[in-house]
Amino acid sequence: MFPAKCDYYRATSAAEAIDLLGRHDNARLLAGGHSLIPMMKLRLCEPAALIDIGRLEELRGVSENDIGDNALRIGALSTHTEIATSETLRTRCSLLAEAARQIGDPQVRNKGTIGGNIAHADPASDLPAVLVALGATIHILGPNGERSIAAPSFFTDLLTTALEPNEIVTTIEVPVAPPGSGSAYLKVEHPASGYAVCGAAATMTIEGSSCTAASLAFNGVAATPVHAEAVTAALAGTAADDSAFRAAVDAHLEIAEPLGDLHASGEYRVALAKVYGRRALEKARDRALS
């Protein structure tokens, strides 16, 4: 409720933010503040300095046109509402918009940002598995310049990412959904927090009546997003019917160390992942066909 004392800096550019990070021990970046501030209020996190990047226009906004090879760029400071309501994303990368719409409540969506969300790497958050399923790329700026990381490699552990101490996420690059494809994000909400007890993100491309490509990833069930590549590999070339999905999920979904808590044990989350993985695939297929 009452954060400990800390210093506050407002960065005027991404470069300045990186410089400030380098000059202060135990400094944290403040974007939308919807993960960091609650932790500070509970004194689970007591940074010595807050570096506010919330007003950096250079990190904001969704590109209206494709960049490079059929991809869209999303500024790290784009809010969940901006993503959920972006016409570009809704039509060209609807999985991300669909997931962003399911985050928290309107107040959270109006302040929380995609960059802050993934940098915090809460395993019960909605966006990590979606970015993994999409094959997104995370662009990062640090003291030594820019670098890029594929989404599955970005999330390294519980609340831990591949970001080095003085780096910041600048943009997230997501592929445009190909023709003949569909996607779905389905979620079992924790009744108190609204976080994902299990969130299943699926994409599927159908040609003729068979599945030519698919992806499936889960939030909430393990310390990092579970990328069910074996499941979707088994689906390639199949008839994309419900029984194929069930067989693939039952045979190939493996969650090595499932998370468990008071509300839902690891064992139950695995059971949920099987059901919701299948349902997400079914919905993605139906949308691909519609």
Partner: protein, 787 residues
């Protein structure tokens, strides 16, 4: 259209919804300091030492006090208990712990600082050396051998051992029964969770005494308890004010240590002191609700008539006895075990136990939800055992409409009731026969409708509210009367101010009480104001809880109005030169019966009462009357609720498709407010059934102290309720009203659980404990299944 009984909008709301309401945290006094209370992180520990030296050096800290400072002082006191049972163990509850802490959140020291942040920063710097001890957490396990002892004075952690009913007769009923069913259940501990946390602002002036603004449902009771036990000031030197109060649900009835600590600090320092609980602080210190472990049984004869009911309950009291805690699992619980049914023999035994947890006391429903849960779950088990439809089994056992007043086997005498029409109405709205047919079809072909399992749950509940009369509750251990007061002050120009001992905190009394006055006196509702919540303005009163305010507080207003009309009649008769017996008062006029046009208006009579130029010989001027209304009995609202749910057999998720509530609270003063109370009550009860649980781990840590973990219901999780009512007036109060504030909370948990258990009956599931988390249901459907 009559004002009484109409759905006029709440007059309170425009200010509240535009942010003009003034709550404790909106109030500031010159020179005010902030208090932060240093609380135990341990469930049970000896305090070896407290070092405040570092904390005291924090810039902005005004003072730091410990339990010893308070105990050694002139004004130091304890937290009293307000309901005594025979042989009740009442270990002392110091307002700050001295040598031992007994639950996480127990206060150990208090820091006063110039601002709130500094107070909390310095509180972190108070160094306390604890010797942690084993904790007793479970209400039943706490009584078993080897359990940690919460208080030396209470062997086996037993606070009281209480029984009601005829044990032998009940056992004979069971011995002769054709069928018996049994149930082991745990009624989950819940947090009260008013949106506004508890808080207070104390100011002491040597001449005027203490002014304590606090989150209170009953300012006079708080003043009385503070004066008697906690801060040792005479009652007339304490003024307690409840400004706007943002919900209570019982949690703001009780006197906590915190208000006494803050008052003590204000007396000691001479500066105003404010304290507002943080959300987590409230979670660990507000008195919780429920937390029963119960074994219950029902005996049934060959015709499907109940021949006996018995229940054995271990009820957690927590670490200390909260204000009315001993009454909740006893006189508010055991007495309700007859439900709506004619049960010839009932026996209930309750063991109240100390545990290293936050105290447990009245929370919305208070004992009655626990009793109703037992009865209504047993009714479903009984119906199943008899092969009867649950509606038919209930109908067969209802107290019949011609049996009222009905004396139960557990002390209560139901005033009025008519149970079948409420059941019929609920079944009709639900389309019950069709639902059962749909359910049968789904069970025959489980692939349809997505394979979801359909469940229908009934709850035919009885509620006892407006606890009374005072002489009876006194004989049962209450250290207070349970009447209510009302002063009706008519001003010379005929407008009216009502001073009520009830203390609204969301119930809408400023509207409903004004409706009563406007109707009875034939004046415009805008000519009536209602004042409450200030011990200096209002005569002694008992406050608002237990769904008592309309039945008891409203009736007190009627009594005062009757006195006003009587005096007005005397004045009018004098002015009209008629006999008093020939005057009738109607629609704001005193008329001479049978003589058209011969009348005195309300305004003329009021003015003459104060001008006093022409009053009958010996009549005092003025027009102001006070009443203390002590009811003859409780009132007994009732009804039937129907929950219709779908369970996803693959995941255990529950969706409430429909929820039908038919309630009978007697005459309704304002049907819109009645409906609002039903809605709120349902959210509270459905929350307990599906989501809420205050979970203490074995070490006595509350693992659900924040809203990130504790699942208070949200609007999008709840169905659109279908509400209806029947009207069976209360025969013993002048308004014919009962109570409605807790009905939804009492009725809904068993309705939901019965519906889910009904959906799961093909899997052989007979009972599941609340909250019905998806995992709990999934495990019931998939026993022993590995994922």
């Amino acid at each position: 259209m009559a004002v009484l009984g109409s759905s006029i909008k709440r007059r309170e709301d425009p200010a509240l919804i535009t942010g003009e309401g003034k709550y404790i945290d909106d109030l500031t006094l010159p020179g005010m300091t902030w208090a932060a209370i240093v609380r135990s992180p341990h469930a049970h520990a000896r305090i070896k030492s407290i070092d405040t030296s570092v904390a005291k050096k924090t810039v902005g800290v005004v003072a730091i006090f410990t339990g010893k400072d308070i105990a050694d002082s002139e004004h130091g006191g304890v937290v009293p208990v307000g309901w005594l049972l025979p042989d009740l163990k009442t270990p002392a509850h110091p307002i700050l712990a001295v040598d031992k802490v007994r639950h996480v959140g127990d206060g150990v020291a208090v820091v006063l600082a110039e601002d709130r942040y500094t107070a909390h920063d310095a509180a972190e710097q108070v160094e306390i050396d604890y010797e942690p001890l084993e904790a007793a957490v479970d209400p039943k396990a706490a009584t078993e051998e080897g359990a940690a002892l919460v208080h030396e004075e209470a062997p086996n952690n037993i606070a009281f051992d209480w029984e009601l009913g005829d044990k032998e007769k009940t056992n004979s009923g069971f011995a002769a029964a054709a069928h018996t069913v049994a149930l082991d259940l745990r009624n989950n501990r819940i947090l009260p969770f008013a949106i506004e946390p508890r808080g207070c602002l104390a100011h002491y002036d040597k001449n005027r005494g203490l002014t304590l603004r606090m989150t209170s449902q009953n300012p006079h009771v708080h003043r009385l308890l503070l004066s008697l036990a906690s801060i040792a000031l005479p009652e007339h030197k304490i003024r307690v004010i409840a400004p706007e109060v943002g919900g209570g649900f019982g949690s703001k009835i009780h006197l906590y240590p915190d208000e006494a600590i803050v008052s003590w600090c204000a007396i000691r320092t001479g500066r105003p002191v404010k304290w507002i609980a943080t959300r987590s602080e409230g979670s660990t210190t507000d008195a919780h609700g429920r937390d029963h472990v119960t074994h219950a049984e029902l005996a049934i004869d060959g015709d499907g008539k109940i021949s006996g009911l018995r229940a054995d309950t271990h009820a957690a009291m927590g670490a200390y006895l909260s204000t009315f805690a001993p009454a909740v699992p006893t006189y508010l619980h055991g007495t309700l075990l007859s439900g709506q049914y004619d049960i010839p023999a009932i026996y209930v035994h309750v063991t109240g136990t100390f545990t290293n947890t936050a105290p447990v006391d009245a929370v919305r429903g208070a004992g009655r939800p626990e009793a109703t849960f037992i009865v209504e779950r047993l009714m479903d088990l009984g119906a199943r055992a008899m092969g009867l439809d649950p509606a038919e089994f209930r109908r067969r056992n209802f107290v019949s409409a011609d049996a009222f007043p009905y004396q139960t086997q557990v002390a209560l005498a139901y005033d009025s009731g008519n149970y079948e029409p409420a059941l019929d109405k609920a079944l009709e709205i639900a389309g019950y026969a069709q639902l059962r047919a749909d359910q049968e079809n789904r069970r025959k072909s489980p692939g349809e409708d997505g394979g979801k399992l359909l469940g229908v749950g009934l709850s035919s509940y009885i509620e006892a509210c407006g606890i009374a009369p005072s002489a009876v509750v006194g004989s049962l251990g209450a250290q207070a009367g349970l009447y209510e007061s009302a002063k009706v002050r008519v001003h010379p120009t005929g407008s009216i101010t009502v001073y009520t001992g009830s203390s609204a905190h969301g119930q809408g009394h400023e509207t409903t009480f004004a409706q009563i006055v406007a109707e009875k006196l034939g004046v415009d509702i805008d000519a009536v104001d209602v004042i409450h919540g200030d011990t200096q303005e209002v005569q002694f009163g008992m406050g608002t809880y237990g769904s008592r305010s309309a039945a008891v507080g409203g009736s007190a207003i009627v009594r005062s109005i009757e006195k006003i009309i009587a005096k007005g009649t005397t004045i009018a008769a004098h002015l009209l030169e008629a006999a008093e017996g020939d005057i009738e008062f109607e629609k704001g006029e005193f008329r001479v019966k049978g003589v058209p046009g011969k009348a005195q208006s309300w305004g003329d009579v009021c003015l003459m009462a104060y001008l006093a130029h022409n009053l009958p010989e010996g009549l005092e001027p003025g027009l102001e009357e006070t009443s203390f209304y002590d009811p003859a009995n409780f009132t007994y609202p009732f009804g039937t609720h129907v929950a219709i749910v779908e369970v996803d057999p693959e995941t255990g998720e529950v969706e409430i498709l429909r929820y039908i509530a038919v309630d009978d609270c007697g005459n309704q003063i304002n049907p819109m407010i009645v409906e609002g109370q039903v809605h709120g009550g349902l959210a509270y009860g459905i929350g307990q059934a599906l989501w809420e649980e205050a979970v203490y781990n074995q070490a006595g840590q509350l693992t659900t102290a924040t809203l990130l973990d504790y699942a208070m219901p949200k609007a999008h999780q709840l169905p659109s309720y279908e509400t209806a009512s029947t009207v069976t007036p209360c025969p013993h109060n002048p308004l014919g009203v009962k109570g409605i504030g807790e009905a939804g909370t009492i009725a809904s948990p068993p309705a939901i659980v019965n519906a889910v258990c009904d959906a799961l009956s093909p899997f052989g599931v007979t009972h599941l404990d609340m909250p019905l988390t998806p995992e709990r249901i999934w495990r019931a459907i998939h026993p022993g299944e590995d994922a």
